[in-house]
């Protein structure tokens, strides 16, 4: 598998999903080699073999690569990916701090093409060792890696299909203002993939409509609930004893609709000034949201917190009487399930995948301010209704384990593999 990040070094849901999915697969006896661009420290789990792509080649190789123009880099990667000759030097495995730093610095400033090409370059080397039956990649950053690895596999006489899993597209993240380079990578990657996995029917349609991928090539595999153990229970927060609390948690970016949350806070507190809103996260719209909130007179009614980790996340969910995910376009929306797990009912936008998996989530259009306000007030003021939603959604969750997701994945794998393969080994 080629991924982007893993907890605890994650910036969002992709890391969480990657971990859950691999844990589910491992529980079914699947061997996984999981590649990340870079490992930032030891990981607190060992259900799979994690490879840091940044640590497999020499500093000279990296330097050489980084010095090329982007066209040269693309050519180099293409030659590696589509040509027949494999450089022997590529199979060398060296871990060097210097090289790590180069990539680390690069991640901030390099163009999407360069990043994807670099990753594909590393993928060549990784794919040239070991046995594997499936190449499974996660989101745009990894698609070229999937293409490159499949080429290497073929040159080694292995028939491993390349599966691209879509957790989010540039369309979701940025609407019509996406980065053309990323859009192009997605376009090419999804076209080249043997099969595409979408995390919801919502995403399946996004992929079909925006990237011209035939529906027959796309399977839906829902995410599971984030952890399989009970969240730690926190004492009732002083604030919750006094106020009804509505929570936003996620990156404060266009995709997540934080500006709609601020507008919602204004609409709700205009009717019931005792309600408090809490916005958790960071992102490029954070300052704008804070200013807008103050401008709308929400000082004292809207509190802010930076990105939280670990137990604090559960604490925040438990602080709330209602979780709101007003995403403009949300392929899945794992946060809504995390809220449910913590006993907090959730309102999600209809533009989300998670809306498909439970009847007991409140659903409105992200832009429907009146509808959202009325739904929020109904839940906050009707304890029975809230309780029903909570119990119902909790029940729905039991069908959404990562093991379940992994079983669906196995079916997809099986459909793509030669029939005689009995016990697959996955990569």
């Amino acid at each position: 598998m080629f991924g982007w990040e893993l907890p605890p070094f994650n910036s969002g849901g992709l890391g969480t999903a990657s971990l859950g999915l691999t844990q589910g697969l491992a529980s079914l006896g699947t061997d996984i080699r999981f590649v990340v661009p870079k490992l930032f420290g030891p990981l607190p789990y060992n259900h799979m073999d994690v490879v840091s792509a940044a640590d497999i080649s020499t500093p000279e190789e990296v330097e050489k690569f980084l010095k090329m123009t982007s066209t040269q880099q693309e050519l180099a990667t293409r030659t590696l990916a589509y040509g027949n000759v494999l450089s022997t030097s590529l199979t060398k495995t060296v871990g060097i701090d210097e090289r790590r730093q180069l990539i680390l610095d690069g991640e901030q400033t390099l163009s999407p093409n360069l990043q994807a090409n670099w990753y594909a370059h590393q993928a060549m080397q990784i794919a040239s060792t070991g046995e594997y039956d499936v190449i499974h990649t996660h989101d745009w950053f990894t698609y070229y890696s999937g293409m490159a690895a499949r080429k290497v596999a073929r040159s080694r006489g292995m028939n491993a299909p390349f599966i691209a899993q879509v957790h989010a597209t540039e369309i979701d993240r940025c609407g019509s203002n996406g980065d053309p380079a990323i859009l192009e990578i997605e376009q090419k990657g999804l076209a080249a993939a043997d099969h595409v996995i979408a995390v919801s029917h919502y995403t399946k349609e996004v992929v079909h409509k925006n990237y011209n991928v035939p529906r027959s090539k796309i399977s839906v595999v829902y995410n599971g609930v984030p952890t399989q153990k009970e969240p730690k229970h926190f004492d009732l927060h002083e604030l919750k004893k006094r106020h009804k609390i509505v929570l936003f948690m996620g990156r404060i970016t266009y995709q997540k609709g934080p500006d709609y949350f601020v507008k919602l806070a204004k609409a709700v507190t205009d009717v019931d000034p005792s309600v408090r809103f809490v916005m958790v996260g960071t992102g490029d719209m954070e300052k704008r949201c804070i200013e807008e909130s103050a401008r709308l007179g929400l000082t004292g009614k809207m509190l802010f917190s930076t990105f939280l980790r670990g137990a604090d996340v559960d604490h925040a969910y438990q602080l709330a009487d209602l979780f709101v995910m007003p995403s403009v376009s949300e392929p899945f929306g794992i946060v809504a399930l995390e809220a449910i797990q913590n006993g907090t009912p959730a309102l999600v936008s209809k533009q989300s995948g998670v809306a498909e998996v439970s009847e007991h989530l409140i659903k409105t259009d992200f832009w429907d301010l009146n509808g959202m306000r009325n739904a929020v007030l109904t839940v906050l003021h009707n304890q029975d209704h809230a309780e029903k939603l909570k119990k119902g959604a909790m029940n729905d969750l039991s069908h959404l384990s990562w093991t379940h997701a992994a079983k669906s994945l196995h079916n997809v794998y099986a459909s793509l593999m030669p029939a005689e393969m009995a016990v697959p080994i996955f990569n």
């Binding site: 002083e238 604030l239 200013e291 509190l303 802010f304 917190s305 925040a316």
Partner: protein, 412 residues
């Protein structure tokens, strides 16, 4: 015979710690004790101790001749007492010479004059009491936080019995008039007004070490020459500045201490000139006119108005909240709670929330302990939310009593 009138602002706020949403209702530590101690220690070593030493030497060397005045905010005195008692002792030693005047202000260095007259008067009284307590003198001169001034504020100050008040002398108010005379407030009944000569003050406070300035390096001879040039067209040169100019804003290696050490003798090269305390200047020279300042001015930023602390929605909505809590806070008669609330009124908290992005933005950033104005706002909001919860939990002592006026005004 014109006078040089030195006045220094000595101020350190209680900076807040990164108070989180989860701290609300569980943790009442709003202020960063460790950080405040560190800053106090650092500024004591770089500025307060060496500058006080220099001042004391100058005063002893020139008995009856070298004079200076200070406004030390109450919360700064508190922090000296707790973190660096030797600084407090060195100010006491200066007080004992009789050549130093202590100027009154609000204890909490707050903007209360703009929001709540009763609260303003309570804080001034508290500051006067603490000056009496530490230095054994009762101030007769007043300066409001950051020299914030308006006709209305002057009215309140004169009502409290002060004889002299200090403020900025900005061009947009003075127009063709010179700050180098004694003035009176628009509705004054005898209180005198001393206006800052911002050009000469800022030459020392801001431009002293600025190498791009055409007058750099600033020597005592050059500066004295500028001062002497007002002879015949002015009575006083009011040099008002942050005390931290010496050693903290202008580091020791810029030569600021040598400048200070040799300035008096350079000034006395012209025997017409002397040094005088604000209260002396106010009695020595007749007022030449009244100044009308309906809208508040201050010594901050290029605008010399209140836009360093007020005007954007972050600042306005937060300070409105702070003062809205006032009645409920005072009704608890819980001294600790009242003190906490008043420490949140300190102007610096609102200064950190300023979003002006021109030249002054850099100055704001220099003085801020936060990454952004937004962070300052978020933390303050969490703290105020906690304070609200505390208020609900603290029984109100005054609820069934007849409303009692805070005894502050000394109207005659």
């Amino acid at each position: 015979m014109p006078s040089i009138c030195f006045y220094f602002q000595v101020h350190q706020p209680y900076r807040m710690r990164p108070y989180r949403v989860f701290d609300i209702g569980t943790d009442e530590t709003y202020f960063d004790d460790k950080l405040n101690r560190e800053v106090c220690r650092k500024v004591a070593d770089k500025c307060y101790l060496p500058t006080n030493k220099t001042m004391l030497e100058l005063i002893k060397k020139h008995p009856g001749a070298f004079k200076i005045s200070y406004a030390i905010s109450g919360i700064t005195l508190e922090q000296f007492a707790e973190y660096t008692p030797e600084v407090l002792d060195s100010f006491k030693a200066l007080a004992a010479t009789g050549q130093v005047e202590f100027v009154a202000e609000t204890y909490y260095h707050s903007l209360s004059a703009l929001f709540n007259g009763d609260e303003f008067r309570s804080q001034v009284k508290k500051h006067v009491d603490s000056i009496k307590h530490y230095f054994g003198v009762t101030p007769t001169t007043f300066r409001n936080t950051e020299l914030i001034y308006s006709n209305g504020i002057a009215d309140m100050v004169e009502d409290m019995g002060f004889k002299t008040m200090l403020t900025e002398g900005p061009d947009h108010v003075l127009d063709w008039r010179s700050p180098n005379f004694v003035y009176e407030p628009w509705n004054g009944r005898g209180m005198k007004l001393l206006l800052k000569n911002f050009k000469l003050s800022d030459d020392i406070a801001f431009r002293f070490s600025q190498k791009s300035w055409k007058e750099w390096p600033l020597t005592t001879e050059k500066f004295a020459k500028w001062v002497h040039s007002i002879n015949g067209s002015g009575d006083t040169v009011n040099l008002f500045m942050d005390y931290e100019t010496f050693g903290e804003h202008q580091w020791a290696d810029t030569g600021i201490f040598d400048f200070l050490r040799h300035l008096p003798e350079a000034i006395w090269q012209n025997s017409e000139f002397d040094f005088a305390l604000p209260s002396e200047v106010a009695t020595k020279y007749p007022p030449i006119g009244k100044v009308d300042i309906p809208d508040a001015i201050s010594w901050a930023d290029l605008e010399r108005d209140t836009s360093a602390w007020l005007g954007n929605p972050l600042q306005d909505s937060t300070i409105e909240w702070v003062y809205r809590l006032g009645t409920a806070v005072l009704e608890t008669e819980d001294e600790h709670l009242i003190h906490q609330w008043r420490k949140l009124q300190t102007s610096d908290h609102f200064y950190y929330m300023c979003m002006k992005h021109w030249e002054d933005g850099d100055v704001h950033k220099y003085f801020s302990c936060y990454d952004s104005p937004h962070e300052a706002y978020v933390i303050m909001n969490n703290v105020l939310t906690d304070l609200e919860i505390k208020l609900e939990d603290t029984p109100k002592k005054k609820v069934h009593e007849a409303p009692k006026k805070v005894p502050v005004s000394s109207k005659k």
